[in-house]
Symmetry: C2
Subunit: 246 residues, 2 copies
Amino acid sequence: MSIIRKIFSKSRSPEDGIFFDAIQEILGFAPNNLNYYKKAFTHRSSNKIDSKGNAINYERLEFLGDAMLSAVIAGHLFNKAPAGDEGYLTKMRSKIVSREHLNELGKDLNLIRFVESKVPLNHFGENIHGNIFESLVGAIYLDKGYDYCVKFIQKRVVIPYVDIARLEGKVISYKSLLIEWCQKEKRHFHYDIFDDNGLDGQRFFGVKLSIDDKVIAKARATSKKKAEEKASQRAYFAFQTKIDKK
Amino acid sequence: MSIIRKIFSKSRSPEDGIFFDAIQEILGFAPNNLNYYKKAFTHRSSNKIDSKGNAINYERLEFLGDAMLSAVIAGHLFNKAPAGDEGYLTKMRSKIVSREHLNELGKDLNLIRFVESKVPLNHFGENIHGNIFESLVGAIYLDKGYDYCVKFIQKRVVIPYVDIARLEGKVISYKSLLIEWCQKEKRHFHYDIFDDNGLDGQRFFGVKLSIDDKVIAKARATSKKKAEEKASQRAYFAFQTKIDKK
């Protein structure tokens, strides 16, 4: 840790310390300037302005994050789908950065817990989840640069969600793929489902997927089925990675 | 120059040497791997395929370059227009990356001279100029990374063309601004116009703008008026930079 970072850590308020830790956990690396991340979660209803009279809220960061996300996903698809033409790449990217998918990403990280707003959180529509996911990407770009956007998107979008076979509609259900695999390999599996409600009053379900009595994957979603599917996908990829490494 | 670069330079064919120099001149920095740039100018009519059977042409690079260009311009506008909201930023970006503007950028650099195609160049429509401008940005990304895309776009798009006042419609003509300035400062100005036709058979005009008998700016466009306006804008910004440095 550099001297500047040490001084900064010491002078950080207890609230900022908690926020720093939560952001670091989400990013997978340490943020430099927390102000960018605070702005990324400031709703316009807060009516904040800076010393020059410009509004402080996440809307401009959303524009920036959307652009960075599109570029990073374009770069990923370009490399991963060498046989796909321009039309294919465009279609795949639209699926990944769809409003619905961005909302799911934001919800999974429970980003709404950070939102500063004068409007009660349960008054927002679905899209706030995706919007603040984008503004978070914008904050990362300003704070750490493009390469860290790539790192974050790799960790939080590409690895857990972007599966080209699935996007192409070739895989219908990871749950059935996983069950089939367990039966073939004579392994016991078990889905443990529990309520896991968010701050916004909406009902969420958590699921823990165990194989041979060891928890292999966890997931959280708005329906039991979705949570099971997500956990199955994560377990499936975890196993695939292990198999690849052998 | 690194040892690897030296060896590479020595082993380069005379044709590649000429291409390398031309690309370096356009980029403002040395390319590493010429193959990316060759692909950026290969039209699908060439019917080239790689060892895996995938088509070699610029269409996939166009997709990649379009995404990088949008991201770089988003980053630029975010910083340069701190008072602009999301809608404003989106609108300004659309103007900068409009099909018409990209075609102009490609034409100005005369990129079409590099195109490898089985179709005669004068059979292409206007859009090829913008398409190969985008594919060139994609090649830069693959060859040198995001930060070099920023450098290139700064040099070839932002400095010569992106003027927020103009995009907002506040400045109608740089020629009249420049003439006004010359009259106030008691300087002599002169526009020297000449034919400067491209390979594709289209009529182009070149213009040299001299102030006090010194050539200050050059431009090339499809009409005399456009060429004069471009040269005037370049001269205006050249003077602005000098004034700022004083």
